[in-house]
C-alpha cells in the first residue's frame, strides 16, 4: 500500500515537470518551429511582401532561380571566404595564444580579460570604430606604412575585394578571439596536471609536451571551437552591413544573411528570401549535427 501511495505521489510530482517545461515548449513552437515551417512552405511560392495577390505555388522555381543566380553564388562565395578565413584564424590563434597565456606566471587573468574586452562592444560599435580605422587617413594605413616603411601610401582597404574581405575578417577576429582563447584555456585546465608531471619526468620539454599531450587531449575543445566559430561566422551580418552603409562596395562582402535581408526586406521577395533561409538552415543543421556527433565521440578519458 505505501508503495503505491509513494509512486502516485512521484507521478504527481513528475507531472509538475511537464508543467514547468510547458512555457518553453510553447515558445519554441510559436517562435522557432512555426516560422521554420512557414519559411519552408513560403519558399515554394512566389510570395511578395507588398503584393496583394495571393501567393502562388511555384514548386522549386525559387531554388532553381537561386542556383542559377550569380548574385546568390556570389553570396555563397562571400560567406564561404569569410567563414573559412575567419574561423581558421580564430582556431589557430586561439590555440597558440592559449598555450602561451597558460604558460605565464604573471598576468594570466589580465591577458585573458584584455583579449576578451572587444567582445564587450556591440558589433555596430565595432564596425563604426573599424570604419574609421580603415579610412584613407586612418590607423590601418598608418600602421601598414609604419611596418612596411611606405610613408603616405593609401592601401585602399575597400577598393580591392580581397582586402575588403580581409578587413571584415579582421574586425571579426578582433572581436571574438578573446572568447575562444578563454574556451581553449579552460579546455586545457581540464587536462589533469599529473599527465604533465609524468611526461616531464620522461624528459619532454614544454614544446614536446604541448605537441604530444595537450594538443591531442585538447581535440574535443578544438572541434568545439571550430564548429562554434564557423556557425558564428556563417551568421555574420552587422559588420558587413555597416561597412556597406559606410561606403564599402557591397559585392565582395554580400554575405548570405545580408542577401536574405536585401531580398526579403528591401526587395520584398519573401518567397525567394525564404528559399535562401532554408538553404542557410540546411548548412547550419549539417554543421551543428557534425558538432554533436564529433564532440560526443571525442569524449576523453584520462
Amino acid at each position: 500500500m505505501p508503495r503505491t501511495v509513494r509512486s502516485t505521489l512521484k507521478k504527481k510530482q513528475d507531472r509538475w515537470g511537464l508543467v514547468f517545461a510547458a512555457p518553453s515548449l510553447f515558445f519554441f513552437a510559436v517562435f522557432s518551429f512555426y516560422p521554420m515551417f512557414s519559411a519552408f512552405f513560403t519558399s515554394f511560392t512566389n510570395k511578395q511582401a507588398l503584393s496583394l495577390a495571393r501567393p502562388k505555388f511555384i514548386g522549386l522555381e525559387n531554388y532553381s532561380y537561386l542556383l542559377q543566380s550569380p548574385d546568390f553564388w556570389n553570396s555563397m562565395r562571400a560567406t564561404a571566404v569569410f567563414t573559412l578565413g575567419t574561423f581558421s584564424a580564430l582556431v589557430v590563434f586561439s590555440l597558440l595564444l592559449s598555450a602561451l597565456v597558460s604558460e605565464l606566471r604573471v598576468g594570466k587573468k589580465l591577458f585573458q580579460l584584455a583579449y576578451y574586452s572587444p567582445a564587450v562592444l556591440s558589433s555596430v560599435v565595432a564596425a563604426t570604430i573599424w570604419l574609421l580605422i580603415f579610412d584613407p587617413r586612418g590607423l590601418a594605413n598608418q600602421a601598414m606604412n609604419a611596418v612596411m616603411n611606405t610613408p603616405g601610401v593609401d592601401h585602399y582597404w575597400f577598393v580591392n575585394p580581397y582586402k575588403e574581405q580581409f578587413s571584415t575578417m579582421l574586425v571579426y577576429f578582433w572581436k571574438h578571439i578573446g572568447y575562444f582563447v578563454i574556451i581553449c584555456i579552460s579546455g586545457m585546465a581540464s587536462v589533469p596536471p599529473s599527465v604533465y608531471e609524468a611526461v616531464r619526468m620522461d624528459g619532454c620539454n614544454r614544446w614536446q609536451s604541448y605537441w604530444h599531450i595537450t594538443f591531442p587531449l585538447l581535440r574535443p575543445t578544438v572541434v568545439l571551437v571550430s564548429i562554434m566559430s564557423m556557425i558564428l561566422c556563417l551568421r555574420t551580418f552587422s559588420v558587413q552591413y555597416l561597412f556597406t552603409l559606410g561606403g564599402a562596395p557591397e559585392r565582395a562582402i554580400n554575405v548570405i544573411t545580408m542577401n536574405i535581408y536585401f531580398t526579403g526586406i528591401r526587395f520584398f521577395r519573401t518567397g525567394r528570401a525564404s528559399a535562401m533561409s532554408i538553404i542557410l538552415l540546411i548548412i547550419m543543421v549539417v554543421l551543428t549535427w557534425l558538432q554533436f556527433r564529433v564532440t560526443r565521440s571525442e569524449e576523453v578519458n584520462y
Partner: protein
C-alpha cells in the same frame, strides 16, 4: 648539473620574454581600436584625421558628446533609443532567466514521460539560426501590428535553448536531498523552485543574464526588421543612422560609440568573472 640547470633557466628566460613579446604585440592590436575610440571621442575631427594620429586629446573637447546626444537633426533621440534598448534587453534578460531556469529545473529534477524528447526538441532549436526564420517572423509581426512596439522587439527572444541548457547543467549538480526535504515539509513544487533553487543559483543566473543582455544590446538584425519609427529605434539603429548621416563627423561617431558601450563596460568591470565563466560553459565536459 649546475651548467645544465643554468642553461635551462636561460632558455626558459628567453622563452618567457618571447612569450610576453608575442602576447603584448597582440595586446596592442586588441586594445588600440578601443583606445582609439576613447581618445578620438574627445578630439575635434581635424585632430582625428591628422597623420599620425595624436593618441592624446589636447583637452576635454566635449562637443562630440553634445552632438552624439543631440543627434544630427537636434531631436535628442539618443536618450529615447538608449531607453528602448534598455527596456528590451532588461525584459528579455528577466524572461530568459525565469523561463530558462524553470525549464532547466524541469529537465534536471523531474522524470516525466517524454522528458528526453522535450530536451532534444529544445536543443534542436539551437540549430535554427535566427537569420533563417526572421523573414516569416517579420511577416507575422507585421500582420499582428507588432512592428514599432516593444512587444514586437521582445517576443521572439523570450527564452533560448542555450539558457535552458546552462540552467539544466547547473541544476543537475544541485543535491536532491534539499528538494526532497522541502517536499517533506509540504512545499509546493513551484515554491521549491522559487525559494530553494533560484536563490541558490546565483552564478548560473549571473552568467546567463550577462550573455542574454549582451546579445540583446548587440542586436541589430531584428530591430532593423521591425522598427521604422524614429522613437522606437534601439541604440544600435540609432548609431547606424547617426554615423551614416552625411553631417556626422569622426569625433561624434566615436562619442556615440563610447556612450553606447557604457552599460556593457560597467558590467564587464564589475562582473568580469561571469563573462569568463559564460565563455567557459561550452568547454565543460561531462564525466
Amino acid at each position: 648539473m649546475a651548467p645544465a640547470f643554468l642553461k635551462e633557466k636561460a632558455i626558459h628566460g628567453a622563452v618567457g620574454v618571447l612569450t610576453y613579446l608575442i602576447l603584448s604585440a597582440l595586446l596592442v592590436f586588441i586594445l588600440a581600436p578601443m583606445v582609439f575610440m576613447l581618445t578620438a571621442s574627445f578630439m575635434p575631427a581635424r585632430d582625428i584625421i591628422s597623420m599620425p594620429y595624436p593618441w592624446v586629446p589636447k583637452g576635454w573637447y566635449g562637443h562630440n558628446f553634445v552632438k552624439a546626444i543631440a543627434g544630427n537633426d537636434r531631436t535628442y533621440l539618443f536618450f529615447r533609443s538608449f531607453w528602448n534598448s534598455m527596456v528590451v534587453a532588461v525584459a528579455i534578460t528577466i524572461s530568459t532567466i525565469m523561463i530558462a531556469s524553470l525549464t532547466g529545473y524541469s529537465l534536471s529534477k523531474f522524470s516525466f514521460r517524454g522528458r528526453d524528447l522535450v530536451f532534444m526538441i529544445i536543443m534542436a532549436t539551437m540549430m535554427i539560426p535566427f537569420e533563417a526564420i526572421m523573414i516569416p517572423l517579420q511577416v507575422v509581426s507585421t500582420q499582428l501590428k507588432l512592428t514599432n512596439t516593444y512587444a514586437g522587439l521582445i517576443l521572439p527572444f523570450l527564452v533560448d535553448a542555450f539558457g535552458i541548457f546552462l540552467m539544466r547543467q547547473y541544476f543537475i549538480t544541485f543535491p536532491d536531498e534539499f528538494i526532497d526535504a522541502a517536499r517533506v515539509d509540504g512545499m509546493t513544487e513551484f515554491s521549491i523552485y522559487r525559494k530553494i533553487l533560484l536563490p541558490n543559483s546565483g552564478p548560473a543566473i549571473a552568467t546567463l543574464a550577462i550573455l542574454t543582455f549582451r546579445n540583446q544590446w548587440d542586436n541589430l538584425m531584428w530591430p532593423l526588421l521591425v522598427v521604422q519609427s524614429e522613437r522606437m529605434k534601439t541604440l544600435t539603429l540609432y548609431i547606424m543612422k547617426f554615423t551614416g548621416d552625411i553631417n556626422s563627423d569622426e569625433g561624434s561617431q566615436m562619442a556615440v560609440s563610447l556612450l553606447a558601450s557604457i552599460p556593457m563596460v560597467l558590467m564587464f568591470f564589475s562582473l568580469s568573472k561571469y563573462f569568463i565563466s559564460g565563455s567557459a560553459v561550452f568547454s565543460a565536459r561531462k564525466g
